[in-house]
Amino acid sequence: MMGGLGWNLIRGWTLLVYVFMFLPVAVVVLLSFNASQFGSFPMTGFSFRWFIELTQNDAILRAFRTSIILGLLTALISTTLGVLASLALVRYRVPGANVISTLLIAPILVPEVVLAVALLLFLNFLSINKSFALLLAGHVIFTLPFVILVVQARLVSIKRDVEEAALSLGANPVQTFFQITLPLMLPAVLAGALFAFTISFDDITGTLFWKPGGVETVPTQIFAMLRNSISPEINALGTVMIVMTVGLPLLGAAIARQMARKSGT
């Protein structure tokens, strides 16, 4: 075994790093239930007051709706494109498959700011104005790699001979896809969709660059509110965001596991 002191130092340090990362989050959640006017310690009592106020703030509700619609559309488009791209790359011999694959994954590797500015410059060059569609396109571009990575990994593990068996039994390629391939990769497809939704839902960098005037998502709304004052409402909003972005993937994972258990895959 390794010497005690060295390990203890590493252990202590790791603990500190986690505390540093998660303490602020804990503080936000805690303060969102604070009854006091001021979003700071000491807490004066426990209340849902700020959550109720959230539901009466039009700007926030609008931002929320925008975020949800944007997230859902991003998930839908990204997942569809991601599934099709994965199928093409894994199941068919596409010329230049490696290059295409790298290009599709690239947005993960490029810093988001660079990607954001690049897309903006490109649209300027084409003299296209900022719009919701552009914002959506941006979100699709940088969520797509996640979907492709997850779906591809799953698709590789689905044996080709299962599909061949379906074909030999008389199912045409489309029927084979919907009867065999899609159900078998469904957990990955759902996971990809959840990824896309959550990433889109809490993205701020790209969104700040791409959103047209007057449109706010939840993160940009929080950002805008912070410029005025630190209202306890922000803490409540933060808590809601945390619940959504942590809870959704957990829920998704649970559903996927349930499905996998039932089908025995």
Binding site: D161, V162, E164, A165, L167, S168, A171, I180, S263, G264
Partner: protein, 358 residues
């Protein structure tokens, strides 16, 4: 049920030729085995018949109909894969019934036909289970049921038994043959296991390096190998250079340096003319004789036992006759001969075959 014809089929992958020009006729209702070592093109041939690979050249006919441009899902073939390839997300009954959904089978008849297929493979009670809850042997039976329930024109099996353990493999071999016999479907079976091929087939197609070496009944390929390759691949053979020194009406006489003149039955020496030839002496037909054993009708010689490989009921001897190493596989009921001893070896000339020499 239909016959299968391959007319001058060639398959190339890039500039590698996996199947050289091949002609093959598989008669209706026959159980035909493609047998050969790994990489000889068995799977490639099977996949071309299935429609999973396009032949580079040549024609494939099933039931007299040209199939080259017919996609797999319109060919009505039953395929059994090496690793079963059951649909893991469907129950056994759904697996077996899968092919019926794409045929004009009234919905009300489906459960009955699925059950009949499950009965045929002797697993009547597993319909509601998922494949994961079955053993390997059971999964393979379900895969077979799924392939035959659609009443395919041809049943194609690619090493279906190789994933099973030895005992189960023997059982399944018998079972598979029984089922095939019962439904009488034309069957193409791929294996590299010669005993499997000999036991099950009506006809064996021995392949080597993308070419057909010989087509014949198990007895034919075993007793009258058409090439050195076939003689060596099916069981162990001793192949000795010889000269054909004469042809009688029903015999040819071979001059073999180690044994003198060996008269080989004419029907087991097709195409052997005067001149260079080879004597094929199966290891099972070469006997080590104890003291006082009856040697009438045998051609004998003195040899030294080099290695003894004891296998239970049989013993495999490696003996040396002068400079020539020979193999003998003998049944024994007493103790085997010891390594190093000098023994008389003998064989009946009518058990030999002959090949054209180089």
């Amino acid at each position: 049920m239909s016959s299968v014809h391959l007319n001058n089929i060639v398959k190339r992958f890039g500039n590698f030729t996996a199947v050289h020009p091949t002609d093959l006729t598989i008669p209706e209702g026959d159980f035909v085995t493609l047998l050969g070592p790994s990489g000889c093109g068995k799977t490639t041939n099977l996949r071309m018949i299935a429609g999973l690979l396009d032949p580079t050249e040549g024609e494939i006919l099933i039931g007299g109909r040209r199939m080259n441009d017919v996609p797999i899902h319109k060919r009505n073939l039953g395929i059994v894969f090496q690793n079963y390839a059951l649909f893991p997300h469907k129950t056994v009954a759904e697996n077996v019934g899968f092919g019926l959904r794409y045929r004009d089978v009234p919905k009300s008849e489906v459960p009955g036909r699925v059950q009949a297929a499950l009965d045929l493979v002797q697993l009547p009670d597993v319909g509601s289970r998922y494949p994961k809850a079955l053993s390997g042997g059971q999964q393979q039976r379900i895969a077979l049921a799924r392939a035959i329930v659609i009443e395919p024109e041809v049943l194609l099996l690619d090493e279906p038994l190789s994933a099973l353990d030895a005992n189960l493999r023997e059982d399944m071999r018998v079972e598979l043959k029984r089922i095939q016999h019962q439904i009488g479907v034309t069957t193409v079976f791929v294996t590299h296991d010669q005993s499997e091929a000999l036991a099950m087939s009506d006809r064996i197609v021995v392949m080597s390096a993308g070419r057909v070496e010989q087509v014949g009944t198990p007895e034919e390929v075993y007793n009258t190998p058409a090439s050195t390759f076939v003689a060596n691949f099916l069981g162990a053979s001793n192949i000795l250079p010889a000269r054909c020194i004469g042809r009688d009406p029903d015999k040819i006489r071979l001059q073999v340096p180690q044994f003198g003149v060996v008269p080989v039955p004419g029907e087991r020496a097709p195409g052997v003319g005067e001149g260079a030839a080879k004597l094929v002496l199966r290891a099972e037909k070469l006997t080590l004789l104890g003291d006082g054993a009856d040697a009438t009708g045998l051609i004998t010689a003195q040899a030294t036992v080099e290695t003894v490989d004891y296998q239970g009921q049989t013993v495999r001897y490696f003996v040396r006759l002068g400079d020539t190493p020979l193999q003998a596989i003998n049944m024994i009921d007493t103790r085997p001969f010891a390594a190093g001893s000098t023994v008389t070896i003998g064989f009946r000339p009518q058990d030999c075959a002959a090949l054209q020499g180089e």
